[in-house]
């Protein structure tokens, strides 16, 4: 257990250092604030360009704020795998350490989540106090439960994707952005999934992020997806819990199979520059 905790700490500390450019505050404060704010500003300007129709900005803004976690949770561990393997060439040493890769990646994911959380906080505060957007009815318990279950689900998926990253070339460092983009489309982060073609909707329903965002919105009294409105709040939360369990199991299976296969193929210390 001690070894596990030490490995988590190492993953956290190293990722924190890397993300903050080895501790330079001048680099990490803008990183924390500018990126998510600029992204949200795009949304705000798009809404403004279209005349700011009623009922759009609040659920879209807060959905976008929560979505900040998604690309990082999904792609962050994969980025760590690729960076440590190709750039620092340290991945093989982590893989052969007694505690293995998972706690190290968990620490790394935790560090990135802290950054995301800072961004989310800034966006929520901007929405509430600068744009005067309202959260009609906040239910703290449901909000906390939704938040935790959703994070468990997406972080587990992130581990599965890190497993796939073991078999992907270094251009996979764009994985976070790319995979985030798919969930951005499918999960109704900034537009209702009602707009998706009927044949794409099953994919949206199969995404835990869809249920996570829906559950979060409902726990603050916002609604966005008409297609999900017949489903009661408790059922949404139940589906999210089911996804969380499924994602944990899936992550365990995919990660261990991927790691075994990567060992067999000799990919733990490969470089794939081009």
């Amino acid at each position: 257990m001690k070894r596990f905790a030490a490995s988590v700490r190492t993953g956290f500390a190293l990722t924190w250092k890397k993300e903050t450019n080895w501790g330079s505050p001048a680099s990490w404060i803008p990183w924390m604030l500018i990126r998510p704010v600029a992204g949200a500003m795009i949304l705000w300007l798009m809404a403004g360009a279209a005349g700011n129709p009623a009922g759009f900005l609040a659920p879209a803004w807060f959905g976008n704020a929560a979505f900040q976690f998604v690309p990082i949770a999904l792609g962050g561990m994969a980025m760590t795998v690729i960076e440590d393997r190709e750039r620092y060439q340290m991945f093989k040493y982590i893989a052969l350490s007694p505690s293995g890769v998972v706690p190290y990646l968990a620490g790394s994911a935790l560090a990135r989540s802290v950054f995301s959380a800072l961004g989310v906080t800034v966006l929520v505060a901007t929405g509430l106090f600068a744009l005067n957007l309202e959260l009609p009815q906040v239910r703290p318990l449901a909000l906390a439960l939704s938040g935790i279950l959703g994070l468990v689900a997406v972080t587990s998926l992130g581990l599965a994707i890190a497993g796939i990253a073991l078999h992907v070339a270094r251009h996979g460092d764009l994985m976070a952005e790319s995979i985030g983009g798919v969930f951005f489309l499918l999960s109704g982060a900034v537009f209702p999934i009602d707009l998706l073609p009927v044949w794409v909707r099953p994919l949206a329903f199969a995404s835990p992020v869809t249920w996570w965002l829906e559950s979060l919105r409902r726990s603050v009294g916002l609604s966005f997806n008409r297609v999900l409105s017949p489903v009661p709040d408790a059922a949404i939360l139940g589906i999210l819990a089911g996804f969380a369990v499924l994602c944990v199991v899936l992550a365990g299976v995919v990660w261990s199979l991927s790691l075994r296969r990567a060992r067999w193929r000799g990919l733990l210390d490969t470089t794939t520059a081009g």
């Binding site: 279209a50 070339a169 489309l185 081009g274």
Partner: protein
């Protein structure tokens, strides 16, 4: 072999690496082409949710196409000196009797395979799935402006690469930080003029992407929401292209000299 011949060979060889590596690890087709195209589609749905006119959806498609080139310039070219350093190849390039701009150009040309594929997929998505229509009469002019924008953009990328040469990881972090702000001030997903005159003017003066995209939108989609008249934007783009290419050579030399003085040129694993 003349210096020109040597540099042309260097460009070809560096581009060739990209093409071969891309063909040997096809995962980029998914992560660098298909998935980013889907993200662009997300912004189209935002306009649909907002009930915006169809022209706005076309804005998003053209913005998505230009994003692909910006990503190639930033990560496929400017940041590459930083990667090459860590892979142990920068020494080899730096002591070879060739211009640094040839290596950068080689990377950019090689990266065009992926970039062209990504932008084609986004364009196809717009035309086929979202049924976006462009004004055929303006397409030739749009293509000309697009080429001019690319020249300026790659000049800017070469200038940026000198920062990567000197500041390494620091530059990489800043480039990551600047990604969304660049999307914002370039008006990738909305008309540039919606930024307000001061910010739009500042952006147009620094980022060829902003000017180029605005001019292309005006020629391919019809006037109405442009920031400046097309001929003004085209002239400004030409000026930026010349300026950036000239400055790129200077800044590369200056930053290389500084890196050699400070001993950071071959410093690895920052």
């Amino acid at each position: 072999m003349t210096a020109l011949g040597r540099n042309l060979r260097a460009i070809r060889a560096r581009a060739w690496i990209r093409v071969v590596a891309a063909n040997r690890e096809l995962s980029w087709l998914l992560f660098d082409t298909l998935l980013p195209a889907l993200a662009t589609a997300g912004y189209i749905f935002v306009y649909r949710a907002l009930g915006a006119p169809a022209a706005y959806e076309a804005y998003v498609v053209l913005g998505g196409v230009m994003t692909a080139f910006w990503m190639n310039v930033l990560w496929g070219m400017a940041a590459q000196f930083f990667w090459e350093k860590d892979m142990g190849n920068l020494d080899i390039y730096m002591m070879a009797p060739i211009s640094r701009m040839s290596i950068l150009l080689g990377m950019a040309v090689g990266g065009m395979l992926g970039t062209a594929m990504r932008s084609t997929v986004i364009l196809a998505l717009g035309l086929v799935v979202f049924r976006i229509r462009f004004e055929v009469s303006g397409l030739a002019a749009a293509a000309g402006i697009f080429l001019l924008s690319l020249t300026a953009l790659y000049g800017l990328g070469m200038m940026l690469s000198s920062l990567f040469l000197l500041f390494g990881r620091g530059a990489q972090r800043w480039a990551t930080v600047a990604q969304e702000p660049v999307y914002l001030v370039s008006g990738f997903y909305f008309p540039l003029r919606d930024l307000g005159f001061p910010l739009a003017a500042a952006s147009a003066s620094l980022l060829p992407l902003a000017l180029g995209l605005d001019a292309i939108r005006q020629t391919a989609l019809g006037p109405g929401t442009g920031f400046l008249p097309v001929h003004v934007e085209t002239a400004a783009l030409a000026a930026l292209a010349a300026l950036f290419l000239l400055c790129a050579r200077r800044t590369l030399q200056a930053m290389e000299s500084r890196a050699k003085r400070e001993g950071s040129l071959t410093l690895k694993w920052e």
